[in-house]
């Protein structure tokens, strides 16, 4: 990068979003949500590592919104529940209530190793268990934390874009 191009980028910033290529494998059982996926994120006891990556996923560089995925403010608006962290004892109730407030068809995404199998928090005195013990999990995204590319790939599998 020359100094000229850096100055140019400062004066006139262009699109910073990265091209992620064609969509990955389309999930078979979500035909009615094609191209539009509203997500409700619930932190069930996460260390906030996954939250940082989610923020980045919807930031300008990875821009998951271009594939039709969007974070929403209410479970009533959501198609999928995005759960991070091991489910702590205090969060079992709120998590189940959030899931029950979502209209059908609804999905649960367990994001990160903690949500899948409690990760480093396994056996902790405040931990109830992984998300799969509390809710029916449809999709798992491994990683501690999963990087934004992995999250975007998973979401594209659901939106089919």
């Amino acid at each position: 990068m020359t100094i000229r191009s850096i100055l140019q980028a400062i004066v006139h910033p262009r699109t910073v979003t990265e091209d992620l290529g064609p969509p990955s494998q389309v999930a078979a059982d979500v035909p009615r949500l094609a191209g539009s996926l509203q997500l409700r994120h619930v932190d069930a006891g996460s260390c906030n590592g996954c939250e940082l990556e989610i923020t980045s996923t919807f930031g300008p560089v990875y821009d998951a919104e271009r594939f039709g995925a969007r974070l929403v403010a209410s479970p009533r608006h959501a198609d999928a529940l995005l759960v991070t962290g091991p489910v702590t004892k205090n969060m079992v109730g709120p998590l189940v209530k959030t899931f029950e407030a979502m209209p059908e068809p609804r999905m649960v995404i367990a994001l990160g190793d903690c949500a899948r199998d409690c990760g480093v928090f396994r056996g902790g005195y405040g931990v109830e268990g992984p998300v799969g013990d509390v809710l029916p999990v449809d999709l798992q995204v491994p990683g501690c934390p999963p990087n934004p590319e992995a999250i975007v790939r998973a979401l594209r599998g659901l939106t089919g874009r």
Binding site: R66, A73, E104
Partner: protein, 320 residues
């Protein structure tokens, strides 16, 4: 226009305008999001993403809170019904819409307000704290914005000697000097601020916020799901398209169909789409560089709009 042919023609004109607003409203929101994303350096969702979201919402489960009464279900229907009514009788693509003589500007404003009030009551109905908070804020803003809009209409109707909307647009076409007058500019400036306030755009409300405490419009619809939410989103985008359509036709009426005939109507629709898209792009660009105003600063903004309208009305009275 009389006889069965006249009725069919009227239905076709109304149908064309309703279809343009119902499909164009969500697309306008998509264009505005795209413009915003582009300036922010993102790619952004495709322009037809709002339509895709609507299609999905209408296929989802209808889900209502246990405590909700019939008011909750009626709110979105009234919102869409008022928008459809206004789309049918307003001078959007033609200056001679069916039942155009009933399309008084004051009446249109009150019909629009009926939709807002229905949604505010529906939000109160569930008894959630955010719904009540959103309703109270929306009604506060509405109570401040409506007087400004009424006086702005007064300012526009004094020189034209009518507050009938199609007549206002026709007179603008026939006498362009009425549009280039100070009172029209003052009134339309006030109208623009009211549009931003009524449709929940920046700097009054942030349409993309996820923070419950900063929400105004979004807080009212937190409890809606599936088809009900689809109706709310459709109604809101139709209202935005309608208000912008009326604004551009009062400011730049050229292109609108002034005589009967399918060709003129098609040209009128094309002109309407072009003008509204330009206005939408301008508003989206403005929004990128604007922060949301504090709630307690909003009365100042809307009082400013009111003053513009009052000055416009006095100018109209003094000049003539």
């Amino acid at each position: 226009m009389n006889g069965i042919g006249g009725v069919i023609a009227a239905v076709l004109v109304a149908g064309a305008q309703i279809a343009a607003v119902a499909v164009g409203g969500p697309l306008l929101v998509g264009v505005m999001r795209k413009v915003r994303c582009h300036i922010e350096g993102r790619v952004g969702p495709p322009i037809h993403q709002p339509l895709r979201d609507l299609r999905k919402l209408f296929s989802k489960q209808r889900m209502r809170p246990d405590q909700a009464s019939w008011v909750f279900g009626v709110g979105p229907v009234v919102l869409v019904a008022t928008a459809v009514l206004i789309a049918a009788i307003s001078p959007l693509a033609t200056t001679r819409p069916p039942l155009g003589q009933t399309a008084d500007f004051f009446a249109i404003v009150f019909v629009l307000l009926l939709g807002s009030v229905a949604l505010a009551l529906a939000a109160l109905d569930t008894g959630t704290p955010f719904g009540g908070m959103g309703s109270s804020r929306a009604m506060t803003i509405g109570a401040l914005a409506e007087p400004a809009l009424l006086v702005a209409i007064l300012a526009m109707s004094i020189p034209a000697h009518t507050s009938n909307l199609p007549a206002l647009v026709r007179i603008g076409l026939a006498h362009p000097q009425l549009i280039a007058s100070p009172e029209r500019f003052l009134a339309l400036g006030s109208f623009l601020v009211v549009i931003l306030a009524e449709s929940g755009r920046l700097p009054v409300d942030n349409p993309s916020t996820h923070l419950e405490l900063t929400m105004i419009h979004e807080a009212m619809v937190l409890e809606y799901a599936g088809p009900d939410l689809g109706l709310v989103i459709l109604g809101e985008s139709m209202r935005l398209a309608l208000l912008l359509g009326l604004l551009v036709n009062l400011l730049i009426p050229w292109g609108i169909a002034d005589r009967p005939g399918a060709a003129a109507l098609v040209i009128g629709l094309g002109a309407l789409v072009g003008k509204v898209v330009v206005a939408g792009i301008a508003i989206a660009t403005f929004e990128v560089f604007t922060a949301k105003l504090r709630l307690f600063r909003l009365p100042e903004l809307l009082a400013g709009a009111f003053v513009l309208a009052v000055v416009g009305a006095f100018t109209a009275l003094v000049i003539r």
